[in-house]
């Protein structure tokens, strides 16, 4: 019986709509599928566009910190850091040492909690019904309680200021942080045992969504997505800020740039963050926490422009600040790492199955707050 070579088939358009069952925020993917294979992906973003950059032009420097909290809503401290350090760079000032150490500790704790959220959501994407979610969120809970003791809020802190931090850490912070770290060390091992070498997890993520190092650099990818391809670019290493050049830590690198590598790099980074926090707690001095920056609380950087980048849990978070000497910036351009990482989604997904599209999107670990701003 002859095979019909001119069987008229039509590619199906499948819309993974803005309301995603598997978290990640309001993101829309239009997949063109041929049977089970994806032939084209068109990402649609902008559902969470709040005009943050325009708002920055009307608010003063202290108000803008609250705006930056809400960009990548899973790593609030890291966003605030990007902005206040861009302003400090433009003003040519440096926060006092104790403030820098506090910033490092809080940013690294935020990195851990963000990666735990990734772990939870990724397990849910791959199909472990809820168990990984609970493991991840148990850690986030304890970290957020520590945050609450320092800043008063579990998530949107508004704690960093241009020139330092808002207020000093409470008594017993070091002890509480130390206890938290020992608990985190045990939990990371548990999380590792659940998923990393699991046969089905390996089947679902190895070889899926691979991207070469050259392509990743060309797209401007950063963070764990880039380090999973084997490119050792970590802003804390290549352009050290705060006190990162006083710590000893390792940068985990993957080899193939597939979903498993991205997952593994993040899990390893949690361990490295724990090491950094331990060292920071030991080295943290007593002292002032705010540089003498402005009278009556209005920060007015001189006329000029500056670009500062920090290592967010998701990659390189850049703030391009143009000032005209007033109490509000002239222009703030926010370079969100997820915005850039998402450009590579199409190349990674085409040719894989529909179920892989969800897994690949989960491994990119995007947060729509900083994609759309």
């Amino acid at each position: 019986m002859p095979v019909e070579h001119d069987l008229r088939t039509v590619d199906m358009l499948l819309n993974m709509g803005p309301q995603h069952p598997s978290t990640h925020g309001v993101f829309r993917m239009v997949l063109r599928i041929d049977g089970e294979r994806v032939t084209d992906v068109e990402p649609h973003i902008g559902y969470l566009h709040r005009g943050s950059e325009k708002l920055c032009e009307r608010e003063n420097y202290r108000q803008i910190v609250t705006l930056f909290d809400r960009l990548d809503y899973l790593s609030n401290f890291n966003n605030e850091l990007g902005f206040v350090m861009a302003a400090e760079k433009l003003m040519g000032i440096e926060a006092p040492e104790r403030a820098q150490f506090i910033r490092v500790i809080l940013c690294e704790l935020n990195r851990i909690s963000s990666h735990m959220m990734f772990y939870g959501a990724y397990g849910a994407d791959v199909g472990v019904f809820g168990t990984s979610f609970m493991y991840g969120f148990r850690e986030r809970e304890t970290i957020q309680q520590l945050f609450e003791s320092v800043t008063g809020a579990r998530m949107m802190h508004s704690y960093f200021r241009v020139g330092g931090v808002f207020q000093d850490t409470p008594d017993g912070f070091e002890a509480a942080a130390g206890k938290l770290l020992s608990q985190l060390k045990r939990s990371v091992e548990e999380c590792d045992r659940l998923l990393t070498k699991n046969e089905i997890f390996l089947e679902r993520t190895r070889g899926v969504g691979a991207i070469s190092a050259a392509d990743a650099v060309d797209y401007g990818m950063s963070g764990p997505c880039l380090r999973a391809c084997g490119v050792a670019q970590d802003v804390r290493l290549i352009e050290p800020y705060l006190t990162y050049n006083r710590f000893d830590w390792d940068i985990p690198l993957g080899k193939k740039g597939d979903c498993w590598d991205r997952y593994w790099v993040r899990l390893e980074e949690v361990r490295q963050s724990i090491a950094i926090i331990e060292q920071a707690l030991k080295l943290m001095p007593k002292g002032p926490i705010q540089a003498p920056v402005a009278k009556f609380g209005f920060v007015k950087p001189p006329v000029g422009e500056a670009y500062f980048r920090a290592e967010n849990p998701r990659g390189e978070f850049g703030v391009y600040l143009v000032s005209d000497g007033k109490t509000s910036p002239y222009r703030v351009k926010i370079r969100g790492p997820s915005f850039v990482n998402l450009m590579a989604l199409r190349q990674m997904t085409v040719g894989h199955y529909i179920a892989d599209a969800v897994v690949i999107l989960g491994s990119l670990d995007i947060v729509l707050g900083e994609v759309d701003r």
Binding site: T131, R246, W249, K255
Partner: protein, 372 residues
């Protein structure tokens, strides 16, 4: 059959259906509690003591929910699909014995009937997917049809091994034949096949990709709500319970166990052993659901056709040799376990070599500088 007999039969059926429904509701509660414990949380605790009234709350909620039908559905398919899925799940119970005396209607071809009837629900899933007028539903339905059909074969050929040894399709005879040695020892390959294929037949984790389209959206069930959806859900749990019960009857010796030899004490003990063994199988099923990620559809299919089906045929041939040449029992046990061990060792070696291909690196940073 007299009118009285008919009346008793109908009463027995009603009681039985009610019993199964209550057991199924209890299963939903048990699953939630057990999976919650795996996830370091408590599960239902507020509705009633220890959350025991949770299934009642769920049932009431589902009954009271607005059961809306989207405008563009194919009405006939949409309406009939839950019935086509629900009815086979329940009529399969007609011939399953719980103890030597408790069964609605024992048939000489019991297991054949059960396997045949449970295959009917595949059509219901396809009807649900088509009738929902929804791409997700269609994808889920097509996948689930492929999955269910593929896993029928290892399931049936595995059960065939048990049938060959016991010499009968009658479930009571199968249990009676296990008086020396459970079939779990005589046919361990068939037990493994039955559990894996049974899970796939019920579309439970880790084989639940048809009902996890885009993770959680629900596959063929996506457009159903309220009473319609609850029929699918009840059917799923009834099927899971059926898989566990059949595993007990076919492999774990059913209601056999130490206990008094006669009188009502014997009945109680038989029921107790039966339920105990079934509970252990159910625990294993829930455990797998809580901890293991799900397989992609192509991995699932290749598992069925490339791994399970050849294994099923190997088992059948082994059993045939054992029966024809009248080997002693221990040869069957030894060879089966040897085959399983060989597969296990080969799998472990493949896994170790695959894990060795994972390459990772670390860049060591000391005081801000990279060191080798």
């Amino acid at each position: 059959m007299t009118w009285a007999d008919m009346g008793w039969l109908i009463l027995a059926i009603v009681i039985f259906i009610g019993f199964i429904t209550i057991v199924v509701l209890g299963l939903t509660y048990g699953e939630r509690k057990i999976i919650a414990r795996f996830q370091q949380r408590l599960g239902p605790t507020r509705t009633g003591p220890f959350g025991l009234l949770q299934p009642v709350a769920d049932a009431l909620k589902l009954l009271a929910k607005e059961d809306f039908i989207p405008g563009s559905v194919d009405r006939l398919s949409f309406w009939i699909a839950p019935i086509v899925v629900f009815v086979p799940a329940f009529i399969a119970w007609v011939t399953i014995p719980f103890t030597r005396d408790i069964v609605i209607s024992n048939m000489e071809f019991g297991i054949f009937y059960i396997l045949a009837v449970s295959g009917l629900s595949t059509a219901g899933l396809l009807m649900a997917g088509w009738g929902s007028f929804n791409k997700y539903a269609m994808l889920g339905a097509v996948r689930s049809a492929a999955q269910l059909i593929s896993y029928e074969l290892p399931l049936v050929v595995g059960v065939l091994g048990v049938v060959m040894i016991s010499g009968s399709l009658d479930l009571k005879v199968i249990v009676a034949e296990q008086d020396g040695l459970w079939f779990a020892f005589m046919q361990p390959i068939a037990l493994v096949l039955f559990l894996i294929a049974g899970l796939a037949e019920v579309a439970r984790a880790p084989f639940d990709i048809p009902v996890a389209e885009s993770e959680v959206v629900g596959g063929p069930f996506v457009e159903y709500s309220g009473m319609h959806w609850s029929m699918f859900s009840l059917a799923e749990y009834a099927n899971t319970f059926a898989v566990a019960v059949l595993a007990t009857i076919l492999f774990l010796g059913g209601w056999r166990g130490p206990g008094p030899d006669s009188g009502w004490g014997q009945d109680v003990m038989m029921a107790f052993w039966f339920l105990l063994k079934t509970s252990l199988v159910l625990l294993a099923i829930f455990w797998v659901r809580a901890t293991v990620p799900r397989l992609r559809i192509d991995q699932l299919m290749s598992l069925a056709w490339v791994v399970l089906l050849p294994l099923a045929f190997v088992n059948m041939i082994l059993t045939a040799f054992y029966l024809y040449y009248d080997w002693p029992d221990w040869t069957m046990v030894a060879i089966s376990f040897a085959v399983l061990a060989a597969i296990g060792i080969a799998y472990q070696r493949r896994r170790v070599s695959r894990l060795a291909t994972i390459e990772t690196a670390k860049v060591r940073v000391r005081q801000g500088k990279v060191v080798a």
